[in-house]
C-alpha cells in the first residue's frame, strides 16, 4: 500500500475468491466495516481507531491494512454501508411526492441511527454503490414529468439538502452532549442553558428570542417537525413543476 496506489476505494475490489497460493484471508472488508460502524454508533467517530477495530476483531491494527488501504477509505465504506439500510422499492411508484418522501424519511432514519453520518458527509464526497442507488431512485421519482436532468437533480438536491440540514439540527446538541461525556440533561442545564439565557436577556436578538419562546415546533415530536419541514420543501418543488403531471 505504500507506492502509488492512490485509487478510489470503489475501484479496488477486495481480493477474494482467489484460487492461487498463499494464506486464506481471515477477515473481510465487510466485516471490518461493520465493526467500525458498530464502534461509531456506540461511542463516536473518533473512537473508530485502527487499534480499536483490531481489538474488537481479536487482532492487531496493522492486520486491517490488508483489507483497507487507508482509514479514510474505511470511512467511505462505512458511509456507503449504512446507506444500504434505506429500503426502497425496485422502481419509483409514479407518485413523486411519495417516492421522495420515502428517500427523505429513509435518509433521516439512517442519520439518526448513525449520528456520525452527517460528519462524514461533509468531509469528502463518495460515490459508493448505495449512494448511487439511492440517488438513482430519487432521480427516477422525477422522471417523465417534462423536467430536464438539471431540474431533476436540482429538486433532488433540495430535498437532500433539507434532510441533511434537518437531521444535523436534530442531532446537533444531543451529540455534542454525548461527545463531552455529559448526560443531555446536565448538559442542557449547565452548558447551553445559561448561555441561551444570556442571549435572551441581552435583548440583542429579538427574533432568535422568539424562536426560543414562541416556537411550537420545538415542543413538537421530532418526527412531526421533520414532516412539516419536508412538506414545505415538497410544496416548494410542486409549485415549480409544470402542470402536465402535477400530482
Amino acid at each position: 500500500m505504500s507506492d502509488e496506489e492512490l485509487i478510489s476505494i470503489w475501484m479496488r475490489p477486495e481480493r477474494t475468491e482467489r484460487s492461487g497460493p498463499g494464506r486464506r484471508p481471515g477477515f473481510s472488508r465487510e466485516q471490518i466495516t461493520r465493526t467500525a460502524v458498530r464502534i461509531a454508533d456506540a461511542d463516536c467517530l473518533d473512537a473508530v481507531t485502527m487499534r480499536r477495530i483490531g481489538g474488537e476483531l481479536g487482532t492487531g491494527a496493522m492486520s486491517l491494512y490488508r483489507y483497507v488501504p487507508r482509514r479514510d477509505d474505511l470511512f467511505d465504506l462505512m458511509y456507503d454501508m449504512v446507506l444500504s439500510e434505506i429500503e426502497l422499492p425496485e422502481k419509483p411508484s409514479g407518485d413523486w411526492r411519495a417516492d421522495l418522501s420515502l428517500v427523505a424519511h429513509g435518509s433521516r432514519a439512517v442519520g439518526l441511527r448513525h449520528p456520525w453520518l452527517t460528519v462524514l458527509a461533509s468531509r469528502r464526497p463518495t460515490l459508493g454503490p448505495n449512494v448511487l442507488h439511492v440517488n438513482e431512485f430519487a432521480l427516477g421519482a422525477l422522471e417523465g414529468m417534462g423536467l430536464d436532468i438539471d431540474e431533476m437533480a436540482g429538486f433532488v438536491g433540495m430535498v437532500n439538502d433539507y434532510v441533511d440540514g434537518a437531521t444535523r439540527r436534530e442531532i446537533g446538541w444531543l451529540e455534542e452532549a454525548r461527545r463531552t461525556g455529559m448526560d443531555p440533561e446536565r448538559w442542557k442545564r449547565d452548558y447551553a442553558g445559561p448561555y441561551v439565557r444570556q442571549i435572551l436577556d441581552s435583548g440583542a436578538y429579538p427574533l432568535f428570542g422568539r424562536t426560543v419562546r414562541e416556537s411550537k415546533a420545538v415542543h413538537l415530536p421530532a418526527d412531526e417537525a421533520f414532516q412539516i419541514g419536508l412538506d414545505r420543501v415538497l410544496a416548494g418543488i410542486g409549485a415549480q413543476i409544470p402542470d402536465i403531471k402535477r400530482g
Copy 2:
C-alpha cells in the same frame, strides 16, 4: 483549565483590560483565531495544530491554552470569525428575496473562501455572535409578512440548507484533491475519472449517467449554477407565502 471548567466558549470572556498584578498578556484570542484561520485557508483544517499556530506566532503550543481552553473551542471561534465577513445592512430592506439572497451569497462566498467551514458546520452547532447576527438578519427579512416564527425559521432553514449543500458540492472534489496533495487536473484524470467512467460504462445508473452527460449546469460558471438553484429555493418559498406582501 483542568477542572470543571466545561463552559461554552462564548461565556468565557477573554481576561483582558485587567488592572491587577501579573504579567501582561502577549497574545490575544482574536490574534490566535486569525492565525488559525489563515493556516486552515492555506493548507487545511487538519493543519491547524496547536504547535503550528504557536510556531507561526513565535511561541510554543502550550502558551495558547492561556487564551483558548480547548482546541474545539478554537474551531468555534474560527467559525464565528469568518462569518463576520458577511456584509449586511443594518436592517432588512423589506424585499425578502433580495435580503435572503444577500445572506445566501454572503454565506457561499465565505464557504468558498474558507473551504473548511462546511466541515466545522457539521461537527457541532455553535451560537457565536456573528452566527446570531446573520440569523437575526435572515429572520428579519421575513418579518411582518403574516408568518409565524416557525414558518420564518423553516424558510430561513431551507435557504441555509441549500447554501450549505450547494457550497459543499461546489467545494467537494476540489478540496479532496487538495487534501491528497494532487493537483486537481491529475486528480480528476487519475483518481475520479476512471471510476466515473466505470460507473457510466456499467449502465447500472442511467440517470446518474444523464447528470454527467446531459447536464448543462455542470458546464455553467459556478456562480450561475448557484444562482439558478437559489432561485429555485426562493421560488418554492414564494409560492407558500400568503399573498399579503408577496414581492
